[in-house]
Subunit: 415 residues, 2 copies
């Protein structure tokens, strides 16, 4: 069984927004054994939409369409659906009621006439009720292909996929079993990893596919396979992953999805009933943001201080100004002092401190753009390291975040 | 002139990564007058790649291909390029030298044989030197269509686009002029905005296209047009946008690209030589991260405190514990105290404070998931507001961030 995703919207094709919907839908469909053949982003244009529908129908049993369902004039998806299915728009009472309820629930003003335009749907469509917005999802069939139309607003689309689309797809289609497992490694490049695992890679059967996914400071290794026998599939991938994880034990930090690196840090600190705080200068709150984006951080994460201005490192965090003068604000010595003082300020077992020049321009001091110092304070003392992460602001910040997570994980994993 | 983007990689089709490359490329090409007809994400599969190349060639004068260029076995793009162009791989000396230089520059170990595989390129390709990674960009032509192959690693791709691809496209193609202008509004829904501007919208000529882009707490309104006469194009859109911005002056915060909301806040605070600090509880560092992601924040942004644990709001930030007991940690009173104390702690003119329950589970107190209080301290006093942002963690955090930026912008815009 194959699926395709079509996202409609000029905003994608002019680069005004990043299409995050497709990744979410692909991941969720994959989990229930549906393989995505292609993702296509097209214009808000009747002919282009019709052409994409026709092309998708050639390969796909299921076509998920997102976007183009707003109450305003620039959205033409519903009318094009009618053209494709030789259908007309009718008013659906369940949508009228849903719109009324939503306005009541969120204590908004009275709904406008435009809001009720959302209730005009193709007569052949089965309505998927959108509990978080006024645009309904729609399920339509042509020959053997199912077309599902969803609103483009991400959280509305997500709820509809999880609560309406997936259960219906499971009922409607026979699906094989698809299994991926991804090992996350930090600190070694793609080629170096490939060289170390060459023999293991060559021994993989043709039915199991290996992929390398490098990004700043980390490489993910994914094994994928699909088939009818779920138990056999899992066993053959899991056993090979166990060997791989053993071979790369010095750089592997765990399996993705099961545990992001933040999830792994959370798990260990919760088990040990220990706590973490942050003093982020060059990362400017980004490490705290990553930690608190996952629910449940409040059990081990006490807080963070971002002393963005140099003098605040002294005033709030208590880094001696003499240290800053002698060694510069981007130095091992200052990073270590920030980490130790963060432990004191927040009364935590561990602290991560970052200080650096993300660029594009140099700061007050003498340090080059890309220079970063990271320190970890722990009950056993301090570790710290100085890096040069190049001259691209985004890259410097991302590499600092990844390296900081790698360093803290190493420390909290010690006995 | 039309372009297409093809992104190669199973990781996109299984939802393991979000394709951010296409948005970047689309935006940059648009700026120089190149319209994107379609973006297609396909599998690491020879036949599928060939099919996509053939389809793209039907519409496009320029096809940008990203991904599939790593040094490891799972990448088959270069070989497929050879099939499509009836070509063979040869070793390119400039790439050999670039690989050697990169390893020297970043003081890495000796390059591995696999790293030099990057120098094997189709003989007909013009090499685009990648200064940030080992995989070169490649420029090839078939009949009248140009194919450009770029590595999938975002910062490598970005530098190649800006430094190599755009200048070559400008030389090679005649392009019309494309102009977009986007007004950013906060605080009103899509339908309500549409109703207010209906007459203005109906008066737009057919050559100018209006798009509504709603997201959490904000609606963006984009006008687009293209043509040969740059001056006429800009004037006709700018004048209409001026009228629109006037009509929506109570909810419009400025034009996108020219000024993100953070850019606008930065601009005003810099002009007034005033400063900002943050006390972020439920947003957990996300507001600081947004502010410091843009270069130049250090001129007005002093720092942030994330007192994630309730008791730290008292210990570090000085919020009276009696206040927390009496009104609950998610209350107008506590948010206001956080904001005032943040101004004191960081010695700033303004402060934003957030406290709330992002979910999925309730916190220590009696407050419902989704309850958020935001306070702004200013030289004129304090403003604050209590919200319910629903029961989706991501949505609650995003709405809080957007609302906080909206509130601070309002305050700093007063005389």
């Amino acid at each position: 069984m194959l699926a395709e995703i079509i996202t409609i919207g000029d905003e994608i094709l002019i680069g005004q927004i990043i299409d995050t919907n497709s990744a979410f839908i692909s991941k969720e469909l994959n989990k229930i054994g549906v393989k995505i053949y292609q993702i296509t982003s097209i214009q808000d244009d009747r002919d282009h939409i019709l052409q994409a529908f026709k092309d998708a129908k050639k390969h796909a049993d299921l076509v998920i369409v997102t976007g183009g369902l707003g109450p305003t004039k620039d959205d033409i998806t519903k009318q094009t659906f009618c053209d494709f299915f030789e259908d007309t728009l009718i008013e659906d009472q369940s949508v009228v009621e849903n719109v009324t309820q939503l306005f009541k629930k969120y204590q908004l003003n009275k709904p406008l006439p435009a809001n009720f335009l959302q209730a005009m749907v193709p007569s052949k469509a089965t309505i998927l009720t959108n509990q978080y917005g006024t645009a309904p999802g729609m399920w339509m069939e042509k020959d053997e292909t199912v077309f599902v139309s969803l609103p483009g607003v991400p959280y509305e689309m997500k709820h509809l996929v999880l609560e309406e689309v997936l259960p219906s797809v499971i009922k409607r289609f026979n699906r094989p079993y698809i299994y991926h497992k991804t090992l996350l490694t930090y600190g070694l490049g793609e080629s170096a990893v490939a060289e170390r695992i060459a023999d293991w890679e060559n021994s993989l059967p043709k039915t199991i596919k290996l992929a390398y996914l490098p990004s700043l400071g980390k490489v993910r290794l994914r094994l994928s396979s699909s088939g009818e026998d779920e138990v056999f599939l899992k066993e053959s991938i899991d056993s090979r992953m166990e060997v791989l994880s053993e071979m790369l034990s010095d750089i592997a930090i765990g399996f993705e999805d099961e545990t992001s690196i933040v999830g792994r840090i959370a798990h260990i600190l919760n088990e040990k009933k220990q706590t973490l705080s942050l003093a982020e200068s060059c990362t400017g709150g980004a490490i705290a943001e990553r930690i608190t984006a996952e629910a449940g951080a409040s059990s081990f994460f006490m807080g963070s201080i971002v002393p963005y201005k140099t003098e605040l490192k002294t005033q709030i965090l208590g880094v001696p100004s003499s240290l800053i003068e002698e060694y510069s604000v981007v130095s091992i010595e200052v990073a270590e002092s920030m980490a130790v003082n963060s432990c004191k300020l927040f009364n935590t077992d561990y602290a991560i401190a970052t200080t650096g020049i993300a660029g594009p321009t140099k700061g007050d001091g003498k340090d080059e753009v890309g220079t970063v110092c990271i320190a970890i304070a722990s009950p056993r003392g301090i570790v710290s390291e100085k890096f040069n992460f190049g001259n691209d602001r985004y890259r410097v910040i991302e590499k600092t975040i990844n390296k900081a997570f790698e360093m803290i994980l190493k420390e909290i994993s010690k006995n």
